[in-house]
């Protein structure tokens, strides 16, 4: 992340977007880690619209939308960037979603068309719905796949269209002896890890 003062950005957002409740997070060791700005999920559209159109600290492009699952809450991270050789800058903008059953956030496709595929990917992997998205389908997984793969509590389905998802053992075991030995290895590895 480059050339960005997250405290200043948070203050700017709070001044111009009412109810955004932006809080800046700055790590202790700024050389190693990146700071971020967290805003209210309900206000994300107006915040991004403000960040795109303001004259003080504009961001003319959206790089990527990434989701992170922290089990007690989920985060959607918007990496905004400014393509300008004179003053390049990056920003990690976050929203926090506590609802795990039906998480939803407003889509920003109308501001950055780049968000189209990115939001579809976040939906595919985390099950976060984006309101007003024109075409919210799964993108990498098949359309009839069940579950949200990148959530931490995800358990893969056993069976997909008559195909076994995790065949018993990735290898073709032909002898039981081998499996017994493999269990021994696992135990040895666990003992080693402890």
């Amino acid at each position: 992340m480059l050339n960005i003062d997250v405290a200043k950005v948070a203050e700017l957002i709070n001044r111009h977007v009412s109810g955004a409740n932006a809080t800046a997070f700055l790590p202790e060791d700024t050389k190693k880690l990146d700071g971020s700005v967290t805003v209210e999920a309900a206000k994300i559209f107006s915040v991004v619209e403000f960040l795109k159109t303001n004259s003080e600290l504009p961001f003319n492009s959206l790089h990527v939308i990434s989701g992170v699952d922290y089990l007690e809450h989920m985060e959607v991270c918007y990496m905004l960037t400014h393509y300008d050789p004179a003053s390049p800058r990056d920003l990690i903008l976050k929203v926090r979603l506590t609802d795990r059953v039906a998480p939803a956030v407003d889509s920003i496709v109308r501001l950055y068309p780049a968000a189209n595929f990115q939001e579809r990917e976040v939906y595919d992997m985390f099950g976060i719905r984006f309101n007003n998205h024109p075409d919210l389908r799964r993108i990498l997984c098949p359309d009839d796949w069940q579950g949200w793969p990148l959530r931490k509590d995800y358990v893969a389905q056993k069976d997909y269209n008559g195909m076994s998802v995790y065949p018993d053992g990735k290898m073709n075991f032909d002898d039981r002896e081998f499996i017994v030995r493999q269990d021994m290895i696992k135990k040895a590895q666990q003992a080693k890890a402890q």
Partner: protein
């Protein structure tokens, strides 16, 4: 955003375009034509002629079981979990052998199997090996009829015989 193909109406543009097309094509054809006699072929006819592999080439894995101390570091480092090791304690009073670089073998290796069908040839296992017994050999021709055949048990006598063929010194 439709493609706009400009109509070359004027007399001059028509002929300059024609000349440009012919001259650039002839130039390209000349470069290609030179390859008929001026450039030697670079391709190798594989089964008859074989390229000499560089020393560091990472081909099929080979474990020299006489030097293995069953430390399972390779199995831990493997990102695809294709190495299966099992070992048991040596019975009391057995003479403790040493590896070629002087480490004591305190465990009896009962299994060392690598599934080369899973292996991704990344080389991480060879770098953690403390006795350098697990190495990449230069053997790249080991296709099999079944996927089970890709499992190599390095304690099996046929693989130990294979060592003499592949591993020099």
């Amino acid at each position: 955003m439709s493609t706009t193909v400009q109509e070359t109406n004027s007399f001059k543009e028509y002929f300059s375009g024609l000349f440009n097309g012919i001259s650039t094509t002839v130039k390209g054809m000349w470069i290609t034509f030179r390859y008929v006699w001026a450039v030697k072929p670079v391709s190798i006819e594989y089964p008859e002629v074989r390229e000499v592999l560089p020393e560091r080439a990472r081909m099929r894995l080979f474990n020299d079981v006489q030097n293995c101390i069953s430390c399972t570091q390779c199995a831990m480092a493997c990102p695809v979990d294709c190495i299966y090791i099992a070992s048991e304690k040596l019975p009391e009073g057995t003479e403790i052998k040493k590896t070629s670089n002087g480490q004591a073998i305190r465990l009896k290796l009962t299994q060392f199997t690598i599934d080369t069908a899973l292996c991704c040839y990344c080389g991480l296992c060879t770098t953690v090996c403390p006795t350098e017994c697990l190495t990449h050999s230069l053997d790249y021709e080991f296709s099999q009829y079944t996927i089970d055949g890709m499992k190599y048990d390095y304690l099996a006598p046929d693989v130990i015989a294979w060592r003499d063929r592949i591993v020099k010194s």
